[in-house]
Amino acid sequence: MKGEIVVETRGLSMHFGGVVAVDQVDFNLRENELRCLIGPNGAGKSTFFKCLTGQLKPTFGDVVIRDLNVNRAHSHEIAGLGVGIKTQVPNVFEGLSVQENIWLAARRFHPAARARSLVEETLDRVRLTDIRREVVNELSHGQRQWVELGMVISAEPWLVLLDEPAAGMTHDEVLLTAELIREINKTASLIVVEHDMQFIRMIADKVTVFHRGAILIEDTMDVVAADPMVREVYLGHRKK
């Protein structure tokens, strides 16, 4: 087993009126782990993700990040702990240049000089140096996703939470993103919510499958993919 537990949820539940989106989830993430969360539509992955990032306040249960209960914390406080967050729909500063976007993230927790060098470094890592002065809303979808990834990594987080980082990307872009995520994993623990099974195969180490708001199974990709229950959940019942 790898290092200490960095993210833990205990009996985490999220109710929307009468709908139970997340139902008593106990989840652990250890240091330097790369964990993928998968599951069919409406399984509660994104809701779970939003509870972790402070965008939703859980109805019951606790979210603990490095021994700190962050149940009632705001997103900016969670980010302040050194957590990098990428949302499902790309959230970028549309009217600003690529480098301004990344500078804003880098400058938040670093002094001016360090932030400048971090911007250079990050632009290089996400391969956007050539278009650093372009305004973000004129870029392609994949490039905007990278701008957002760049914002996440430029703050030098130790924990990275990504919601569908490869959504809407071309095949080549997906390959680069997978590479980037493995690289991030050298210095940070990661939770990646993803739909795309191919993409998960490229990066996954251990996979957690969500179904109807609860964890169905948690194991390596090969075991999960072979599991009859998972197949049933993904493909629906096939009774003869």
Partner: protein, 353 residues
């Protein structure tokens, strides 16, 4: 717009401002100078909304609240203190503090943009109605009678520290123009600072700003308070220009006018609102001298025309136009140079061959 070009514009603006500051009292009549002081107060007010709305994305429909509070606070403090030196400071601080309190409830209560507009406008109208009802002798703060509908006479500025040395209207003009220049360059500095760049980021995407670790509520609160303070300073100048403060500073007409200045001048620039305020101020005062067309009708038409045809406002549109022309001309010039060079080379090779 890149920084180098922006800097050359700033130098130009600074020079024009300084010439205006020194030159205007030499060539203009006293009446015009006094009138100009009021126009400058309006320009400073427009600047404050240009900062809060154009850069922070906070559509405050009641910027007149802080303007009026600044004006009243200045007059009341000046009467009570027997001098204006501290009254100016008090006015700016009271206006900023009120903006901070109001902002606290709106930003920490996560009031949405539309309701923010409604709330700020309502607060201004509440002050309007409140101050109109303060006409009896029982309504006074210290020695200052609030005077209800008629308002209070504003004591003119004095030299700091010497209450008996009262400034002449020309001198008040110098103070006002200097305040506008300082306010403008102060805002330029602010929007270029880390704080200002974060304010713009929040305007662009609040959630993202939060996710990279900025406390959006606090950032907005501070910007709003700074805008309130500048509006308060504008109120002080206004009280000096007009010589009297009445509840009309809070009325709906003024509240709407500020928005129109900023829309016409251009959001997202700082010089735009200032020019918008000057332009419309003089347009309205020249229209005031005739009776064939209704003032408000003209204002309404201007607003509609701008919203429909020049939605970005004058200054950003001029910049765009300039860029496009320049860009195209530059492209042709570069293309031409390349063609000539290529032409020369082929001529040379053929000559050798």
């Amino acid at each position: 717009m890149n920084h180098a070009r922006e800097n050359s514009w700033l130098i130009l603006i600074g020079i024009v401002g300084a010439i205006f500051l020194i030159g205007a009292p030499q060539v203009l009549e006293l009446f015009t100078i006094i009138n100009l002081t009021t126009a400058i107060a309006m320009a400073l007010l427009a600047l404050s909304l240009g900062l809060v709305w154009g850069f922070g994305g906070i559509l405050c429909f009641g910027q007149s609240t802080f303007f009026g509070i600044g004006a009243y606070a200045y007059v009341v403090a000046a009467i009570n203190f027997g001098g204006t030196s501290w009254a100016v400071v008090v006015a700016i601080l009271v206006a900023a503090a009120f903006a901070a309190v109001l902002g606290y409830f709106m930003f920490y209560g996560r009031v949405s943009d539309v309701y923010l507009g409604v709330i700020t406008l309502t607060v201004s109208l509440i002050f309007y109605n409140l101050m109109r009802r303060t006409s009896g002798p029982e309504y006074k703060i210290g020695d200052a009678l609030l005077g209800g509908f008629n308002g209070i006479n504003a004591p003119p500025l004095n030299v700091p520290g010497d209450a008996s040395w009262i400034l002449f209207p020309e001198d008040v003009f110098y103070v006002a123009m200097a305040a506008l220049i300082i306010g403008y360059f102060g805002c330029v500095w602010l929007v270029r600072s880390h704080f200002g760049r974060v304010a713009v980021a929040i305007r662009e995407n609040e959630l993202r700003a939060e996710l990279i670790g900025y406390d959006v509520r606090l950032q907005k609160l501070i910007l709003f308070a700074v805008g309130g303070g500048i509006a308060g300073a504008a109120g002080v100048l206004f009280a000096n220009g007009v010589g009297r403060v009445t509840p009309d500073v809070f009325n709906l007409y003024n509240a709407a006018l500020i928005i129109i200045w900023v829309i016409v001048g251009g959001r997202g620039t700082l010089i735009g609102p200032i020019l918008g305020a000057f332009g419309l101020f003089y347009l309205i005062s020249s229209l005031g001298q005739q009776t064939s067309i209704n003032n408000n009708l003209v204002l309404g038409v201007i607003l509609v025309v701008f919203v429909l045809l020049v939605p970005k406002g004058i200054v950003p549109s001029v910049i765009d136009l300039w860029d496009r022309k320049r860009g195209r001309r530059g492209q042709f010039r570069r293309h031409g140079r390349r063609q000539r060079r290529r032409g020369g080379r082929t001529a040379e090779t053929s000559h050798e061959g």
